[in-house]
Amino acid sequence: MSEGQKDSRAPDDARTPTPARSALSSHRPDRSAPSATSARDAHPSHLLLRLLVLLLALAAWQLAADAHGSVYFPPPSRIAHRAYELWFSGPVRHLFLTSAAFEDVLPSLGRMAAGFGIAALGGIAAGVVVGRSRWAYAVCNPVLQFARAVPPPALVPVLVVVLDFGTPMQITSIAFSAVWPVLINTAEGVRNTDPLRIDVAAVLRLGPLERLRFLLLPSALPRIFAGLRLSLSLSLILMVFSELLPGTADGIGFTLTDAQSRSDLLTVWAALLLLGVLGHLLNTALLAVERRLIGRGRTTP
C-alpha cells in the first residue's frame, strides 16, 4: 500500500552510503499495534527530561512518606535499602547477588522463560498455519477472539484443578495466557502478506520452508513483535499471580505473600520494586531484539 510510494521516494543519489541510523528511522511500526519506542524518545533532551520527571516523582514520594511516617507506606530510600540487603549485597563473584536473589528470582524467571518461550514458539507456529489458510482463519478467528477476551488470571483456577499446584501449573498458566496475542498477531501479519509478493514467491518457485523464511516471517515480523510485547507483559503478570497461590515455595510472588504473612511490609514493597525493574528490563531486552531484527531496512507495513 503505502510502501510503493515510500520506495519511490527513496533517495535518487544512491552513491552516498546510507548510514545505519537511517535504517532505524525508516522502520515505521504498524499503526494498529502498540508501537515500539520511537526514534524521537531517544533524543538526549527527552532522556534528560524523563530522568528529571522520574527523580521528581521519587523525591515527592520520599517527602510524602517521611512526612506521613506510616509503616504501610515506607519511603523509597528504605525500600531500596531493603532490596539491596535482600538481593544485591552478595559477593563480587556472584555479581553482588545474594543467595536469596538466586532463590527468589531465578525460579520465577525460569518459569516465566519457559511459559513465554512455549507461548512464543507455539503462537508463531500456530499463527502461521492460521494466517496462511483463509479457511483456518475463518474457522479459528471467533475462537481466538473469545480466548483473547477471557481475562487470563481467570484461567488459573481451572488449571489448578486440572494440574494441581506446582511448577507445571504455573508454566501452563503463563503459556496459556501469553499464547493468544502472539498467535493472533502472527496470523494477522501472515494473512496481510502482500499478495503480489505471494505471486513473486510462486513465480520464483520457493519451497514451503523458503517461503516461510524469506517471505511470510519477515513480512509478519512487526506484527509478531507487537504480539510478543503483549505476551511478555502477560507472562510477567501470570508469573506473579501463579506464585501467589498456595503450594508455592519459591519465587518473587512467594516472597510477596510470605512477607505479607509476616507483616513485613518493607519486603513487600521491595518485591514490588524488583518486579517493576524486572518487567522494564525484559521489555527493553525484547525491544532491542526487535530493533536488531526489524531495524535493518524494513519499510513494510
Binding site: D7, A10, A14, S26, L196, D199, E210, P218
Partner: protein, 256 residues
C-alpha cells in the same frame, strides 16, 4: 520456448475479461502486448505464468499445457517496490531464485554479482532495495528474473512508472538481453512508442469486457535499434501510427 494460447478466456465471476484469444509466440520472439488500462493485460500474463487457471481455452508452453508455474519462466512485475523483498539485500534478492537449483552459497552469490554487473548494478549488492532509486530497483527485479536464464520472460508494464531517461536506458538493456540470451519475451505496455521500439511484433487488445486481439503486427525496422535514430525512421512512424489507430479504433474513437 514456444508459447501458444488457444481460445483463451478469463473471467472473474460474471465479469468476462478476456475472450477467444488465439496467439502463438515462436521461440525467441519479443512480443509486445498493448491495450488500454483494465483490458486484461495483467490477467493475460498471470494466466501464462500459471498463477491463475484459464477459464476457457488453453495455454501451452512447448506443447505442454500450463497448469502451474512453468519451468524456465521468469516474471518482472510493474511494481518493483513491492515485488522486491525489502528485508533482503539486493544480492540476496537476486540470488533467491538460485536456491532451488541447489547451488552452494558462494556460487549463488557469485552468480548474483555477475548478473548485477550485467544490468549495471555492480557494487550495489550489499545495499537494500529501498536504498536505491526506482530505476535501479527495476534493474534489480530484471536481474532477479534473468539469474536463472529463463527461456520465457514475462514483463508487466515494467517501465511504466519510470522517468523518460531511465526508461530508455532500460529499454535498451532489454533489447541487449534479448539479443544475447534469445529468450521468448512477452512485454506488456500501454505505451505505443515503446511497443514498436522494443517489439519484434505488436499485438493490440481491445478494451474489455471480453478483450480480443484487434491487431497483430510484425515490426520490421532496418538496422540496430537506437533511441534517436530508430524513432525517427519513416517505418517507425508508420508502424506507430498503425498501432495507434488500432488502439484508438478499439477504444471507439473515429479512426479516419
Amino acid at each position: 520456448m514456444t508459447l501458444r494460447l488457444d481460445a483463451l478466456g478469463q473471467r472473474y465471476g460474471d465479469h468476462l475479461v478476456l475472450h477467444g484469444i488465439d496467439l502463438t509466440v515462436p521461440d525467441g520472439q519479443l512480443l509486445c502486448v498493448v491495450g488500454p488500462s483494465g483490458c486484461g493485460k495483467s490477467t493475460l500474463l498471470r494466466t501464462v505464468a500459471g498463477l491463475q487457471p484459464a477459464s476457457e481455452g488453453t495455454v501451452t508452453v512447448d506443447g505442454t499445457p500450463v497448469t502451474g508455474v512453468p519451468d524456465q519462466l521468469a516474471v518482472v512485475f510493474q511494481d518493483y517496490g513491492r515485488s522486491l523483498f525489502p528485508w533482503l539485500t539486493v544480492r540476496d534478492n537476486v540470488a533467491l531464485p538460485l536456491r532451488r537449483r541447489g547451488l552452494a552459497r558462494a556460487e549463488r552469490r557469485a552468480e548474483a554479482e555477475r548478473i548485477l554487473e550485467r544490468v549495471g548494478l555492480d557494487g550495489a549488492g550489499c545495499r537494500h532495495p529501498w536504498q536505491l532509486s526506482g530505476g535501479m530497483q527495476q534493474r534489480v527485479a530484471i536481474a532477479r528474473a534473468l539469474v536463472c536464464r529463463p527461456s520465457l520472460l514475462l514483463m508487466d508494464e515494467p517501465f511504466g512508472s519510470l522517468d523518460a531517461q531511465t526508461r530508455e536506458d532500460l529499454e535498451d538493456l532489454l533489447l541487449e538481453v534479448h539479443r544475447t540470451d534469445g529468450a521468448t519475451i512477452v512485454f506488456v505496455t500501454h505505451d505505443i512508442d515503446e511497443s514498436v521500439y522494443v517489439g519484434d511484433r505488436v499485438v493490440v487488445l481491445s478494451p474489455g469486457p471480453g478483450s480480443r486481439v484487434v491487431l497483430d503486427l510484425p515490426v520490421q525496422l532496418p538496422g540496430k535499434r537506437d533511441q534517436i535514430g530508430t524513432r525517427g525512421l519513416p517505418e517507425f512512424v508508420e508502424l506507430r501510427a498503425e498501432v495507434g489507430r488500432a488502439v484508438r479504433g478499439a477504444q471507439g474513437y473515429p479512426t479516419g
